[in-house]
């Protein structure tokens, strides 16, 4: 009986204007959005590949360990076509060097800051807005419409239990909505397949599969909300109005209201407090640096140096005097550990501030979880790897990588004290350089130094970095699923809750 009712309702739904228009709109929007988003992804992928190649090229040119400051790039998330999340608003690269700990960049330098006036565009917008509306439009007259037409009492006058009728309607509604959801996914995947640079691996397919399941659960939740209204009120016009207003609440009011509420409940400390803590630490570092510098003063100074630009920016002394080399060795051995220690302290201060931001973000998430649209957004972002946790996971990896690079440099340069840390010149070349700078005739001194520079430049080779630790950061599918699971479970609970309420309401529904 359930199946018969479902079949009848399903076939009726397929022939309605709203279903046809809704499905066609989904197909049209997907056909328009996905090529644009896929092209954008291709551009990002191209930029990523170029950046990685440039970075590798620079690594191959590094001649001193001091200049090892690679930039790690996060590959663009293919599934950002489905859900952009927060990825656009945060940086996608992090520099690895002694002077800073990588952290989230709130104002990525490669993004035009004036484009924040535009809302996010991705495929999940089609689900959150169009298909959710379609679900409500399919459900709003499921019971009340039949009652108005008089067919509901006819159905129930047969030996069809009310729960069978309701289950049949639920099944029919879900089958109806499976069509536009499936068609949207198929069209999107078809279009993505046409792009040569887009290559879906096994992990991507698993995520897409999970996203498909999440989308079905989401539209089922919206259908159940519409069904609930239909089972509670007698007029389908009223049911429609209630459904639409709840839609406005879920799509517009609750997501934005959640942010306002969280900002009121969990106010952040002013940024100036963090700035003043950092300023105090900088002063403390400067004091300690000056104290350590006093220990170096008896050694003289760096003296004459002939500098060369580094591939990663900055400079290094191509040539220096023997005494200058000794000075620099002691300087780096003393000051680098100090710098690393204070950079960690700066990071601790920033991390405390960031933790407060994250707590506020969590509160927003918790408040917004009242809305199935927000739940779906969280699931989609987690599966696409474009949520905040995805960015944090990448940066955690880069921070760990930075520690490995520092240990590598320590090991190769005897805790930053070896000359190879800062200069490629040999002891003999440094002695010769000293003789050059001691020549009284400035012109001749400059000429001799230049000749020596050319000789050293032609002989130096880049560092042997075959054993340099390499960054490996891939977003695990299991990790993504773990992050998506709570919101997906809540969506399923909402489904059960709304259906249970519809069930109770329908059992008492006056069909006359």
């Amino acid at each position: 009986m359930i199946w018969k009712i479902a079949q009848k309702e399903f076939l009726l739904n397929l022939m309605t204007f709203k279903f046809v228009v809704g499905t066609v709109v989904c197909i049209v929007l997907t056909s328009v959005f996905v090529p644009v988003l896929a092209k954008e992804y291709q551009q990002k992928l191209k930029a990523y590949n170029e950046n990685v190649a440039t970075n590798e090229g620079k690594l191959r040119q590094v001649v001193v360990y001091k200049d090892l400051a690679p930039t790690i790039y996060q590959p663009p998330a293919l599934l950002s076509v489905f859900c952009e999340g927060l990825a656009r608003h945060m940086g996608n690269s992090a520099k690895v060097d002694l002077s800073s700990v990588p952290e989230i960049d709130p104002a990525p330098a490669n993004v035009n800051p004036f484009l924040c006036i535009f809302p996010t565009l991705d495929l999940s917008l089609v689900f959150k807005v169009v298909i959710s509306l379609l679900a409500l439009l399919v459900a709003y007259d499921a019971a009340s419409g039949e009652r108005e037409r008089g067919t509901l009492k006819l159905t129930l006058s047969n030996p069809a239990a009310r729960h069978e009728v309701l289950l049949g309607k639920l099944l029919a509604g879900l089958l109806t909505l499976v069509v536009p959801v499936t068609v949207t996914f198929l069209v999107a995947l078809l279009i993505l397949g046409l792009f040569p640079m887009i290559d879906l691996n096994a992990s991507d397919w698993v995520r897409i599969g999970l996203l498909y399941v999440a989308s079905l659960v989401f539209v089922a939740a919206l259908y159940n909300i519409g069904l609930l209204f239909s089972c509670v009120v007698r007029s389908s016009a009223v049911s429609l109005v209630l459904g639409l207003f709840s839609w406005v609440l879920f799509v517009i009011v609750i997501p934005n209201g959640g942010v306002y509420l969280a900002r009121r409940v969990h106010t952040l400390e002013p940024k100036q407090k963090m700035e003043s803590q950092l300023a105090a630490l900088r002063e403390a570092e400067e004091r300690e640096r000056r104290e350590l510098q006093k220990q170096l003063t008896p050694e003289g100074s760096a003296g004459w140096e002939s500098d060369e630009g580094s591939p990663f920016g900055g400079w290094y002394p191509l040539l220096c005097t023997p005494s200058g080399a000794i000075y620099r060795q002691k300087q780096y051995a003393l000051l680098n550990p100090l710098q690393i220690r204070y950079v960690d302290k700066y990071w601790e201060v920033r991390r405390t501030y960031l933790a407060a931001l994250i707590r506020q973000g969590e509160l927003v998430n918790n408040v917004s979880r009242v809305s199935p649209i927000c739940l779906y957004g969280n699931v989609a972002a987690a599966l696409a790897g474009t949520d905040r946790a995805g960015v944090e996971s990448f940066l955690d990896g880069v921070r760990a990588y930075r520690e490995r690079i520092i240990e590598y440099m320590r090991a190769r340069t005897d805790n930053f004290s070896a000359p190879s840390y800062f200069t490629p010149s040999t002891p003999e070349e440094r002695i010769e350089f000293e003789k050059c700078v001691q020549i009284e005739d400035r012109e001749a001194s400059h000429q001799r130094s230049q000749q020596l520079r050319n000789k050293v430049t032609s002989r130096i080779v880049p560092l042997e970095l075959r054993d340099l630790p390499r960054f490996v950061g891939a977003l695990g599918t299991a990790e993504s699923l773990r992050r998506a699971l709570p919101d997906l479970a809540l969506l399923i609970v909402l489904n059960a809750l709304f259906f249970a309420l519809s069930f109770v309401a329908f059992l008492r529904y006056d069909v006359r």
Partner: protein, 472 residues
Amino acid sequence: MIGQIARKDILGNLVSLRFVLSLLLVIALAATSGFVFVDEYRLQTQDYRNQANEALAGFRERAGQLYQLAFYQHRIYQKPKPLTFFAEGFEQSLPNSCTFNAFTVRLPEAQHQRNFLLPALSNLDWVFLTGLILSFVALLLTYDCVCGEKEAGTLGLMLAGSIPRHKVLAAKYLGAMFTVGIPLLAGVLVSLIVVVASRDVVFGAGDWLKILILVVLSFLYLSVFVLLGILVSSRTAHSANAMVMLLLVWVGLVILIPSFGRVIAEITSAGSSPQECQRLLKDAYEQVNADYEAGKFGENAGARSPNIADCNPPARARYINAGTEAENRAIEDCYHQMLAQASAGRNVACLSPTAIYQRAAEAIAGTGLSHGVSLNSQIKRYQTELREYIRAQDREDPQSLHLLFDEENSTEEWNAISKKPADFAAVPKFQEQDLTLAESLRLAIWDIGLLVLFNVVAFAAAFASFLKYDVR
């Protein structure tokens, strides 16, 4: 007759559930918006005052020696505007501060206190309420104004009398506008009461006039959706179908098309970014260095030493000024490219009346992109004024070399600019000026024209459609 039909429609709408729910929702959101705005405005104004006082104090300290005024790094923040409660214009996300000295104006930066980890939200301003909620309500009130009457059988009866169709249409339009105007005006009134009662926000005469214009603009915007509702209602025989069509039209116009603007802008126009700006700067410096290597600036232009006899200050000044000009050109190009990209996206989004309404409201309220552009121009004018003042004061010192260039240590060592103290009272100080009403209207005139055009087209289509509507 028009009045009678309109009155009937109005009364019918007023007792409907959809109107009651709309009114409650709008008033609740308007009140919330008012309270939230007052809180935030108070904090922003306090921060702005503190920052401005700090900047002034720092500038005053520099007045001890004239040359130091040229090198003082001003950091100017955008002044909080009282009309952000009507059109916030993304001011909490857009670049809001600019650093400059007498020589260079840097790219504007976003220096906000907001939590960047939160999802980018639509601010609860009146543009949001009108643009999204009230436009939705307008469609909800009009989707069955024609086809619903046809289904009920009353349309045929009405037209069986000697009532011309255009009068019926006009009456329906007026009835719907009156109905949708009630929550609009009620909401505006509620939020104005909340804002004014707080005493933290003071509106001048110009602001009240702008508020009036913004309310009229809101009516113009909602009129588009009322006419769209009447158009679709008079194209379909069933109200359910009309509702579906209108919902899809609303989703397309209000949500999808504005979202599309950014992607189109990124793909079709060569935009820029701070990173791209760095690349342009690097190229600019390389060009200047190449000119230096070619001896374009004179002998010893690269020499810099405390001993003036070892250097050639005029040549050095030419070299540094060339670098500064190249830097300023690169920053200016970058800034205009970034703005142009955003504007291009906005122009595409203006296929939607919602985007047009937003842009026009921001222009009148003096917020959004136009606020930043205005601030940038004012900073450049001030910079020129400051440089002229320093030049004029410097001329009076015979011991100065009268060379204005952006290298502080050389300027100090060579006495390139006078070291005499400056009269701080006479030093020009930066004060952000609000756009006048005429300037705001000038910025918004095209958008107002576009909204009028939308109205005319929608009305013509609704009129033509209703004239041919089969009422049986």
